[in-house]
């Protein structure tokens, strides 16, 4: 299961209106190609901070569902975020981590996620739920139930490295346009 495979399985189960905050690198590019909405935010820099951005949205609008689409390199870069999210306990925040064990967009240098189970770190931090998925079949079976969970909930999805090169084109939206469309969708004019 590659990143594109996993996103193709997950995307149809994401409810309309869900704010989706994507990590930088290939995750945002593939996520944008799989399912692009006004409520989708693609972080093109600031590696590590997708989960922090998601937490800020979730705390500011507690009735809005927020889904963070993260990667192992991003989570490892901002590991403290797991503690902050667990302590804040936002019921509307879901956190998916696509774990290919590598920094795919910089040349597939290995991360340490093969030796440090990030789902166990999330569980120990105090997420209400932390699960782990290894196969397409399991992801297809679990995705709808996970997306309906009370947060904070963490799902690690083990994926394989895709073929060399990016999985999708660059994000077509300008950064300013992404801010404007999301704020409009969330009812706040600029």
């Amino acid at each position: 299961m590659t990143l594109n495979d996993a996103l193709a399985i997950l995307a149809p189960s994401i409810a309309e209106g869900t704010v989706c905050v994507h990590a930088n690198g290939f995750i945002g590019r593939a996520g944008c190609a799989a399912r692009d909405r006004d409520e989708c935010f693609y972080m093109i820099g600031s590696m590590g901070l997708a989960s922090s951005i998601g937490l800020g949205v979730a705390l500011a609008q507690p009735r809005r569902r927020v889904l963070v689409l993260d990667g192992d390199g991003n989570v490892l870069m901002n590991l403290g975020t797991l503690a902050t999210i667990a302590a804040a306990r936002p019921a509307n925040l879901l956190h998916v981590c696509f774990d290919n064990g590598a920094h795919a967009s910089t040349g597939a240098q290995p991360t340490i996620s093969g030796r440090v189970r990030l789902d166990e770190v999330a569980r120990a931090a105090g997420y209400r739920f932390a699960g782990r998925i290894e196969t397409r079949q399991a992801l297809a079976a679990e995705a709808p139930a996970f997306l309906a969970r009370e947060g904070p909930a963490f799902l690690l999805v083990r994926i394989a490295l895709g073929p060399p090169g990016p999985p999708a084109p660059r994000i077509p939206h300008t950064p300013e346009a992404m801010v404007a469309r999301l704020r409009r969708a969330l009812g706040t004019e600029r």
């Binding site: 590590g48 950064p175 999301l182």
Partner: protein
């Protein structure tokens, strides 16, 4: 001491100016301000200053006007978030940055950042004011107006002894 604003009054002024989301990492120079925010249930403590900026960015996307409180040491941690999130996307925040190392009179770990602090903010194109106590309230208004106009971060630099 007369002239120094109480933390309670500064929080009142921040709220009156439209700031409604407070996140940060502590510094002793703003301990009374943080205590007042905590007392009112308004403050989220983060583990790192760049993560605090990330949370603040999310709050802005969801309609809030955030304040990020940090020691100037944390400004070093924050530079990539400012460069590739806030400044890139046009996401504002009021940075309340304390000035440890002010005039070279401080513990050694604060001297380098204390020396370069205003120049570092200017280099990043972040407008700043380092108000004297009596200008604090007017400069909060200035910060709120600058954010509404530019959609970029602005900084109020807090010198030692600013708050009661």
């Amino acid at each position: 001491m007369s002239g120094r604003p109480s933390a309670e009054r500064v929080v009142d002024r921040l709220l009156a100016a439209g700031f409604d989301f407070f996140v940060g990492v502590p510094c002793s120079l703003v301990r009374t301000l943080l205590a007042e925010l905590e007392r009112r249930g308004l403050y989220l403590g983060e583990t790192r200053e760049d993560a605090a900026l990330g949370v603040a960015a999310g709050a802005y996307l969801a309609g809030r006007t955030p304040v990020v409180i940090m020691q100037n040491s944390g400004l070093g941690v924050s530079l990539n978030a400012l460069a590739s999130l806030h400044l890139l996307y046009g996401i504002p925040a009021l940075l309340l940055v304390t000035w440890r190392g002010y005039r070279g009179e401080d513990a050694p770990e604060h001297l380098v950042m204390g020396d370069v602090l205003p120049r570092l903010l200017e280099l990043f194109g972040i407008p700043l004011r380092a108000p004297l106590a009596e200008a604090m309230e007017a400069d909060i208004e200035w910060a709120a107006a600058a954010i509404r106009e530019t959609h970029k971060p602005v900084a109020l630099v807090v010198r030692p002894g600013m708050f009661e």
